[in-house]
């Protein structure tokens, strides 16, 4: 006798999604399906036909949780399309910005899962620790990006401004002082996750990891011809879900993949563990990697160096790819520029990759653990939404060729 458990919307994540689990008599999940129900945004259509500078400004609004990766992926895509080689200092500033954002964004996630893993007597300690880390990481984002949430200083061709020497020294000192606090925080989180006693093998799946870089992202590692995108109707074996799902299913080599901190660590650092606990541990460990990278960059950065390249805005209609390793996984933006206008724009964002992987990852355990599995991937739905509902009555979605809305 199989029963259906529906959690809608799944909680403590960005955006709206639904988890549908078929369970057997013992309550063990036999089939898990996870899909986005966040309405379509259409940002890629908004930027098409406008000047290239519009794209980073609009697409960073995809989300307020990780605006930095979207901004960076957008300018990287434009840089690629316009054949711009950005100055070294600009590249360093971009990497610094993303590293600081990683620390901040992972800390947000730890705040979201605090209710799951932190016992009541440690709650205040854990939350204070998260706040302290976020405060310092955001301070770097504020100064390097120009704005804390939607950075204004990341531009096509580099950065709007270099930071001053005073700011560099100040940031360096601040992050150095943060290091012991972060180490203690990471230890705390890993310890708490271990103490929670998730069953062994929870959330383990067989999908391959996909990552392009340890932290920043490398467009050369993403091969476009290995990528395909299919409609949810042909992915989900439940026609009802296929119709309601709001995101396309991206596949790499014809299979769904896993992206995010654990995937990065598996690809680049030989991290072997899988499942819910491994996700949390990898995410915590990556905060250390990101912070030490930020400190290294601040030690080396030449604050008098130029940060903006000269370029021709007109473009040659080359397909530019920007691949950024965001906190929640690989974020790809693609752009074509010709006659100084964006001709084509498309985003393949982190959670879109993870959506088809997350559902099956809930299988084999009691459905009570379902939300824990989902949360372990830190899904962020608002950016993932990629198809449009044309008819509100029967919720059918738009034709295949129009998918890249």
């Amino acid at each position: 006798m199989s029963e259906k458990i529906v959690i809608s919307p799944t909680s403590r994540q960005e955006g709206h999604a639904e988890l549908v689990m078929e369970v057997d008599d013992e309550g063990i999940v036999t089939k898990g399906r996870y899909f986005s129900i966040t309405p379509v945004r259409g940002l890629e259509k908004i930027v098409t036909g406008k000047s290239p500078e519009t794209a980073p400004v609009i697409t960073q609004r995809i989300c307020g949780v990780c605006p930095i990766p979207h901004t960076l992926a957008s300018v990287e895509a434009m840089d690629d399309s316009l054949d711009i080689e950005i100055p070294k200092a600009a590249r360093q500033l971009r990497e610094l910005l993303l590293a600081a954002h990683d620390v901040n964004s992972h800390a947000i996630h730890q705040f979201l899962i605090a209710q799951d893993i932190v016992p009541a007597d440690l709650m205040v300690t854990a939350i204070n620790s998260v706040s302290e880390i976020r405060k310092n990481a955001q301070y770097v984002v504020d100064m390097v990006g120009g704005e804390g949430i939607h950075p204004s200083d990341v531009r096509i061709g580099g950065m709007a401004k270099n930071i001053s020497e005073v700011a560099r020294k100040r940031l360096y000192a601040r992050l150095k002082a943060l290091q012991p606090k972060l180490d203690a925080h990471v230890e705390l989180i890993i310890g708490l996750v271990a103490d929670k006693g998730f069953p062994e093998g929870l959330g383990v799946h067989n999908q391959k990891p996909l990552a392009t870089d340890v932290l920043y992202g490398d467009r050369t590692k993403f091969e476009l011809d290995r990528f395909t995108e299919i409609l949810p109707e042909s992915w989900y074996d439940d026609p009802e879900i296929g119709k309601r799902a709001c995101s396309t299913i991206p596949l790499y080599d014809g299979r769904s993949v896993e992206v995010g901190p654990r995937a990065r660590m598996e690809v680049f650092q030989g991290f072997k563990d899988k499942g819910v606990v491994a996700q949390h541990v990898a995410r915590a460990l990556e905060m250390k990697t990101a912070l030490s990278k930020a400190i290294d960059i601040l030690a080396e950065l030449d604050t008098s160096a130029p940060v903006m390249a000269d370029y021709d805005i007109r473009g040659t209609n080359k397909l530019g790819v920007g691949a950024i390793e965001g906190p929640r996984g690989m974020d790809i933006h693609m752009a074509q520029v010709k006659d100084a206008k964006t001709q084509f724009y498309s985003c393949l964002v982190p959670t879109t990759w993870n959506i088809p992987t997350m559902g099956p990852a809930t299988e084999g355990f009691h459905h009570d653990f379902g939300p824990h599995v989902i949360r372990a991937y830190d899904p962020c739905l608002s950016c993932a939404t990629h198809v449009i509902v044309v008819d509100d009555e029967d919720r059918s979605i738009i034709k295949n060729e129009m998918v890249r809305i």
């Binding site: 100064m143 930071i163 005073v166």
Partner: protein
């Protein structure tokens, strides 16, 4: 009260010989900022620094006394200092920024601090605001035009400009030319016509030449922060004081000019209101004290 709220009003000047030489009057803005920087009360300041063009100021973030001194002296044209505040806090990383503002900018600054929309974690990093007296301000092209037309001097030859004794003064290397201040009317920017503030009523410390003899400034200390910094500077001997003359050429003149600026502006505000034009002030019928800066 036409001079705003203040704790103390006095004449003052900077004791530093170098500052006395380059500054407009008593060198209070320059002197106080340099002192505050030395004492680490501020870690930098947004000032109207020099640009590529003579007499055209550019909002600059000064991180040293030298850079503050390079910005000394009044330039009778617009320097949008508020525009630089965000950059000072972000790219320059200032945590306790000083700033020099004219009355309209002071109002903007306080509004920014009260409603930090779009300036989160920026407005709260302003530690000291020195307001300067201002009767009106001229766009750069206006200034150039009336100096060459009224004073008949090539703009590039001007060494100092000043307003005093009802006249606009232009000093060149071998000449001192003046013409009645009335003749500059029509050249000021139109916002000045509805401005109700002569003395930067909302600043921490305001300073200006009105009511003070040559080479001295009339200073009003307004806030707790302003008082602390000012008293420290006086105790350290960076600034010397002299009581202000209560009479016709002192406090009385300052009060009279402030009152007349307010009355004139209020008339214009009422006129514009009647025409249905947008004015960021209340009409005189809408407020208790018709001269209040609201």
């Amino acid at each position: 009260m036409v001079l705003g709220t203040y704790k103390q009003i006095t004449l003052a000047r900077s004791t530093d010989k170098q500052i006395q030489k380059i500054s407009q009057d008593g060198g209070i803005a320059t002197g106080l900022l340099c002192f505050a920087l030395d004492e680490k009360i501020i870690d930098g300041a947004v000032v109207a620094g020099p640009s590529d063009e003579m007499w055209k100021p550019e909002p600059t973030v000064a991180l040293s006394s030298d850079e503050i001194m390079a910005a000394a002296g009044t330039k009778y044209t617009l320097s949008p200092n508020m525009w630089m505040v965000k950059e000072a806090v972000r790219q320059y990383g200032l945590e306790k920024a000083g700033i020099v503002t004219i009355p309209c900018q002071t109002m903007g600054l306080r509004k920014m601090q009260s409603y930090p929309i779009g300036v989160r974690f920026v407005a709260d990093k302003i530690a000291l605001d020195i307001g300067i007296c201002c009767t009106e301000n001229f766009p750069f092209e206006s200034l150039k035009t009336f100096i060459s037309a009224k004073a008949g001097v090539n703009f590039d030859l001007v060494e100092k400009m000043d307003i005093g004794k009802g006249k606009f003064w232009v000093k060149t290397q071998d000449d001192m030319i003046s013409f009645p201040i009335k003749e500059t009317h029509g050249y000021e920017q139109s916002g000045c016509k509805v401005c109700l503030d002569l003395v930067s009523e909302l600043s921490d410390i305001s300073t200006g030449s009105i009511g003070a003899p040559d080479d001295w400034s009339a200073v009003q200390v307004r806030t707790d922060i302003g008082e602390t910094v000012f008293n420290k500077a006086v105790d350290a001997g960076a600034i010397e004081l002299k009581p202000i003359d209560e009479g016709k050429f002192g406090l009385e003149m300052l009060t009279r000019l402030s009152k007349s600026k307010k009355e004139k502006a209020m008339k214009e505000i009422d006129r514009r209101k009647e025409l249905g034009l947008p004015v960021p002030y209340k009409a005189s019928s809408e407020k208790e004290d018709p001269l209040a800066n609201v």
